[in-house]
C-alpha cells in the first residue's frame, strides 16, 4: 500500500462500550491514532446508542464531541430508533441541526427487524433527506457477549429488498461476517469483521468491487486490523481506503 494513501474510516464509535473500557475510548486518543495512520475523515457513531433510551442526548453529545475533540476529522453519525415515539424529530435534528450526513441504526438492540414497517418508514424518510443509513449487523461476536445480554445479529436479508426503496436510499452494512449475495449499487459494506483466507476478495466478489469500503470498528477493535487487511488483500488500496467511500457519500461520481 502506497505510504501516502489517505483513509476514510466509515466505522468508528465514541463514548463507552457498555461492557468494558477500551484503550482508545476517549475521543482525543482515538483521533490521535486515526491521524497517525493518515485517516482524513472518520464517520463516528456512539456506543451509547446501543442501550440508551435518550437518543436525543446521545446524538447531541456525538455532534459536540466531534466538534470539540474531533481534530477536524470526525464526522458525527446520529442514531434513530423508529420504534420510539416521535422518532422523526430525532431524524430531523440529525439532519438539520447537526448537519449529519449519515445515521447508524441498531435494530437488534432496539428490538425491530429490517422488514418491519417502522424500519421501512425510516428508510423512506432517510432517503428523502439523502442520509446514508449505516446498519451494524452486530457490535461483538455472539460467542463473547455478556451472558445476561445476548443480542442476536441483525438479519441482513431484507436489505436486498430495501435497496429497491429508491435510488436515493444509500445503505451501508457494517460489521458483517458473511459474504451476502447482494449486488446493488446503493448498498455498501465495510470489512471490519471480514475474515478468512482472501476475505476481502470474497466480499468484493459477492457484493461488487465498488461496494466495499474501509471500516475499522475502532476503538472496539484494534484499529490496525482494518489497515493490515488492505495489505493482506493485495487489492486496490485507493478504492478500498478512500474512493469507494467517497462515492458512497456522493462526493465522487
Amino acid at each position: 500500500m502506497n505510504a501516502r494513501q489517505v483513509i476514510l474510516d466509515t466505522n468508528v464509535s465514541l463514548s463507552r462500550y457498555p461492557f468494558r473500557r477500551l484503550p482508545l475510548d476517549e475521543t482525543p486518543k482515538l483521533v490521535a491514532k486515526l491521524k497517525q495512520h493518515k485517516v482524513t475523515r472518520a464517520l463516528a457513531g456512539s456506543f451509547d446508542a446501543m442501550l440508551h433510551h435518550d437518543l436525543g442526548a446521545v446524538n447531541e453529545r456525538t455532534a459536540r464531541e466531534c466538534k470539540e475533540y474531533g481534530g477536524g476529522i470526525l464526522a458525527p453519525v446520529g442514531c434513530v430508533d423508529p420504534t420510539q415515539p416521535d422518532w422523526r424529530e430525532e431524524l430531523r435534528r440529525c439532519h438539520e441541526a447537526y448537519r449529519m450526513t449519515a445515521i447508524r441504526l441498531h435494530p437488534n438492540y432496539h428490538g425491530y427487524t429490517l422488514a418491519d414497517s417502522a424500519a421501512r418508514e425510516l428508510f423512506a424518510d432517510a432517503a428523502r433527506r439523502k442520509l446514508l443509513v449505516q446498519i451494524p449487523l452486530e457490535m461483538e461476536d455472539e460467542r463473547t457477549l455478556h451472558p445476561r445480554l445476548k443480542v442476536a445479529p441483525v438479519d441482513w436479508r431484507p436489505c436486498a429488498e430495501l435497496a429497491a426503496v429508491g435510488p436515493t436510499l444509500r445503505l451501508q452494512i457494517l460489521n458483517c461476517r458473511l459474504f451476502p449475495a447482494i449486488k446493488a449499487k446503493n448498498v455498501w459494506f465495510d470489512f471490519s469483521m471480514t475474515e478468512g483466507v482472501h476475505g476481502i476478495r470474497r466480499l468484493t466478489d459477492s457484493v461488487g468491487t465498488s461496494q466495499v469500503v474501509f471500516g475499522s470498528h475502532a476503538p472496539f477493535y484494534y484499529w490496525e486490523s482494518a489497515l493490515l487487511k488492505v495489505t493482506e488483500s493485495g487489492l486496490d488500496a485507493a478504492a478500498l481506503c478512500e474512493t469507494n467511500a467517497r462515492r458512497m457519500l456522493g462526493e465522487l461520481p
Binding site: 461476536d141 455472539e142 463473547t144 475474515e195
Partner: protein, 261 residues
C-alpha cells in the same frame, strides 16, 4: 519484528494438494511479515477423529512439513478418546518424525485424566502442548475445554509447559483462569481483534506468557497481527509475544532434533 505464528491451518488455503495449500499460506505469510508457522489439522471436519482420521490429518501435515521445512513446524493431532492411537501418532510424528508439538482440540475436555498419558508422552519428548479452549456465551461443544478445564489440567502438570489455545475466546475470563498457573502460556489466536486483549494478558500474566497466533485460514493474519501491532505495550513485550516466547518454548525439542535456526 520477527514474527512466528503459533496457530495456522494450511488446509483452508484451497490448494488441490498440501503443497499447493502451503504455497498459498506461505505467500500470504510473506506479505504480512510472518517468518515461521506452526501448522496442524488437514480439515476442520473431524472434531472427534478416529485413529484412521488422526493418521490422515497427520500425513497431510507431514507432507507440508517435508516441503516447507524451513518455514513451518508441524503439530501432531491427537485425541484423548483414542489414547493408544494418539501415543502411536506422537511416536510416529514427533519422536521418529519432524513434528515439534501436539494439538488437542474438542474431542474430550482436558480436565479429564484420560488425557494424562498423552501429556506425559509429549512432555517427555519436550513437544509443545497446545490445547484448544473456548468459553462461549451460547455454550461449548460437549468435548470442548473451557479455560477452567485447562486450569484443572495445569494443576495436574505444574512442571509441564502448556498453551491455552484462544485464551478461552472470552479472554477476560480466560486470562484470569490461567493467572495462577505459571506453566501456562496463552494463545492470542482466533477471536475478534478486540482492543485491550493483549494489554490485559500482559498486565495479568506478564509478556513472557503471551504468544501470538492467527488461526488463519479460519481468520485473516491481519486481524490477529493487529492484536499485537496495535496493543499499547512496550516493543520489548511485542517482540516476546511475536516470537521469542515460542522460540524459547520450542528450543529444547529443536535442539534434541538437531534443528538449527
Amino acid at each position: 519484528m520477527t514474527i512466528w505464528d503459533l496457530h495456522c491451518h494450511p488446509a483452508s488455503f484451497g490448494g488441490r494438494t498440501p503443497e499447493e495449500s502451503m504455497a498459498e499460506l506461505v505467500k500470504l505469510a510473506d506479505r504480512m511479515g510472518v517468518e515461521r508457522l506452526c501448522i496442524y489439522l488437514s480439515t476442520l471436519a473431524h472434531t472427534d477423529p478416529t485413529a484412521d482420521q488422526l493418521r490422515q490429518h497427520n500425513d497431510y501435515i507431514l507432507r507440508c512439513v517435508n516441503h516447507f521445512a524451513h518455514r513451518v513446524f508441524g503439530f501432531v493431532y491427537v485425541n484423548p478418546n483414542h489414547v493408544q492411537a494418539s501415543l502411536d501418532e506422537i511416536n510416529r510424528c514427533v519422536r521418529d518424525g519432524p513434528m515439534t508439538g501436539i494439538k488437542l482440540w474438542v474431542a474430550r475436555r482436558c480436565n479429564d485424566a484420560a488425557i494424562d498419558p498423552i501429556i506425559e508422552r509429549a512432555a517427555a519428548l519436550k513437544a509443545v502442548i497446545f490445547q484448544h479452549t473456548w468459553l462461549k456465551t451460547g455454550g461449548n461443544l460437549p468435548g470442548e475445554s473451557s479455560p477452567m478445564d485447562m486450569a484443572v489440567l495445569a494443576a495436574r502438570f505444574p512442571n509441564v509447559p502448556l498453551i491455552c489455545g484462544h485464551t478461552g475466546g472470552n479472554w477476560e475470563i480466560g486470562v484470569r483462569a490461567m493467572r495462577p498457573f505459571p506453566n501456562v502460556s496463552v494463545d492470542l489466536a482466533g477471536s475478534d481483534p478486540t482492543a485491550g486483549f493483549t494489554e490485559m494478558a500482559v498486565r495479568e500474566l506478564g509478556a513472557r506468557r503471551v504468544i501470538y497466533g492467527s488461526d488463519t485460514g479460519g481468520r485473516s493474519f491481519s486481524s490477529q497481527l493487529a492484536k499485537v501491532h496495535g496493543a499499547a505495550i512496550p516493543d520489548e513485550a511485542r517482540q516476546r509475544i511475536f516470537s521469542e516466547n515460542l522460540k524459547e518454548m520450542m528450543l529444547p525439542i529443536l535442539r534434541a532434533k538437531g534443528v538449527r535456526l
